[in-house]
Symmetry: C2
Subunit: 235 residues, 2 copies
Amino acid sequence: MSHARVLGVLGGMGPLAGATFMQRLTLLTPAERDQDHIPAILWSDPRVPDRTAARLSGGEDPLPALLRGIAGLEAAGCGAIAIPCNTAHGWFEPMQAATRLPILHIVEAAADELLRLGIAGGPIGLMATKGTLAMRLYQARLEGRGYDCLVPREAEMDRIVMPAIDLVKANKVSESYAPLAEVARRLIERGARAVVLGCTEIPLGISAGPALPFPVADTIDALARAAIAWAKPAG
Amino acid sequence: MSHARVLGVLGGMGPLAGATFMQRLTLLTPAERDQDHIPAILWSDPRVPDRTAARLSGGEDPLPALLRGIAGLEAAGCGAIAIPCNTAHGWFEPMQAATRLPILHIVEAAADELLRLGIAGGPIGLMATKGTLAMRLYQARLEGRGYDCLVPREAEMDRIVMPAIDLVKANKVSESYAPLAEVARRLIERGARAVVLGCTEIPLGISAGPALPFPVADTIDALARAAIAWAKPAG
């Protein structure tokens, strides 16, 4: 594709998150007809090796597959890249070094979403994969902006959060709602002012049930808003 | 992408239909983890000129943009192409002539969906764009399989169906439910045994409200099932 600002989306991690990102990108774009929407290419490669396993238990390195996707999106004519997978941002620097295209950072988008929700600092809850937590992808960036991250306890991660993420990847989305909502609620009880859904499977589960009665930063919507701001900069 | 069967999706017509196709492709695929899902590339170019306007009122020819998308998907390593836009199938033959990749035909997929619903012949309702109806994309193929197509009256097309399709393209999805459901109900009253939602915006609107109390063939799901059968042929 040529001429307009074409968004490249490195998805497939998981595939439902990438597809839902495309849906939210569309629904959040001000448009009256097809031709007002943002041209985009979704590279949905669910074969990318598991990111948490690579970081924590010696699993296969996902970087070569990530770089193949970025090269494919660049060759197809994209002007920027969005990656609707938080854990993949653990390889942000080598991905950015490998392309001349700007990569929108999902943690920066999440921080902007917290501001949009009126949460300018203080304790916030952080739900993410074990890989994302271990790499401190959020903690390092959010502490610099005045937030303190409360994370689930190790037993909650092992017994509730990671199994719920796996339910979403296995298409059992509605079953993941109750466990994910329960952990979010506990983080609020422990003092969080809002909860960042810092793994793109988590907002899919949380959207499958009643809205939570406290602010949540959905990283799919946050990245979609960042992409729209890139594609359609305000006059 | 290489090695596996990678699906190419020529989307953007409209973009919400293409994104929802990717979501339904994921949810209908038997999978326990990311790596079980089907690799796919969605080429979402909402700038493709309006298909109905091209066919009925001398609007710009969409074929060059369609062929650019197909060439892009072929260059990216796809092995087959699905096009979640019914009206674009009016250009099926020149698209198929321009690529060595098989293009899955959405009308054949819809006919298979009718059989899956247990409707093997007889009168069926057909809701589609004016372009799709005028090109007889469905009538020509379904009559050969023993179906008779009941279509909305011209005033219903102009005052209800086409405006409702435009509501979906303008992100006003829930507003489109009532008018689309009403036309589907009228087709059943006139004798249809089922209604084919033969424009990919229509199932988006119909999904935004209560399930209809009669069989409908959703062409997004139908095409997703055809794509899964291509990517994962039964042993």
